[in-house]
Symmetry: C2
Subunit: 142 residues, 2 copies
């Protein structure tokens, strides 16, 4: 198995609401309004939105309706960018669960939940490289 | 917010066990054995493993210990590759929850749970482009 991700699918309770949220965050999709799944090109991978019940069935899991131990992160180039993106999320209808602040690991971040409760961290990490195309790179080994 | 993901963090109950699983799948990390987090470079993003309790706290969510409505996918270049990767996962200790088979959307895929119950789909999708560097691309709009 090559070390890479192709698709992250978020199970949603209301596809139109979830689509509106990500579109309000500035993401664009070519999926048709009547499609039962919405795909966003997200750099070299794809973020999908799909009915949560069908996704649970497709994934072979039981769904308790709560958080399942997975968090997404969006890294930016400065602390000011963290503040800006968290405000953008709040305006788009997200619940800000951690206001932007310095972190224990030496960066600066905040966190929000999307309309279906999926957590996103918005982070400025001075130890990681953020390429022009948005790719993020770990530092070389010490 | 630019349309991209930087980091996907999986909350784990036993960091050493989770690390062994992903290493057995062929992923490599420069994280030290004593680090309390493990990062894998996964193409242009990073996959992290971290204590589930701390991740829940950091993400501002309650943790029921069940699936939370998010599934990861790894796309490959052929149906035979799906079979191969699913067998590799089984050998590495994963629970195969859906044996490889043709799917309703016209592809071929199987699904497994990693040792912490995080679902992965392994898929051959003839409608998406898989670049040489592993990036996946949606088709142009019709």
């Amino acid at each position: 198995m090559e070390p890479r991700l192709s698709l992250v699918t978020l199970g949603v309770g209301d596809l139109a609401r979830a689509r509106r949220f990500y579109e309000a965050m500035g993401w664009t999709t070519d999926s048709a309004r009547e499609d039962d799944v919405v795909f966003f090109q997200a750099g070299g991978l794809i973020l999908g939105l799909w009915d949560r019940v069908r996704l649970a069935e497709d994934s072979g899991v039981d769904d308790s309706g709560e958080w399942g131990g997975m968090t997404l992160a969006h890294n930016v180039r400065s602390a000011a960018d963290v503040d800006r993106v968290v405000e953008e999320a709040r305006s788009a209808g997200a619940t800000v669960v951690r206001e932007p602040a310095e972190t224990f690991w030496g960066g600066y971040s905040g966190a929000f939940l999307d309309p279906d409760g999926h957590p996103w961290e918005v982070a400025f990490n001075p130890f990681w490289t953020l390429d022009e195309d948005g790719s993020v790179r770990l530092p070389p080994p010490k």
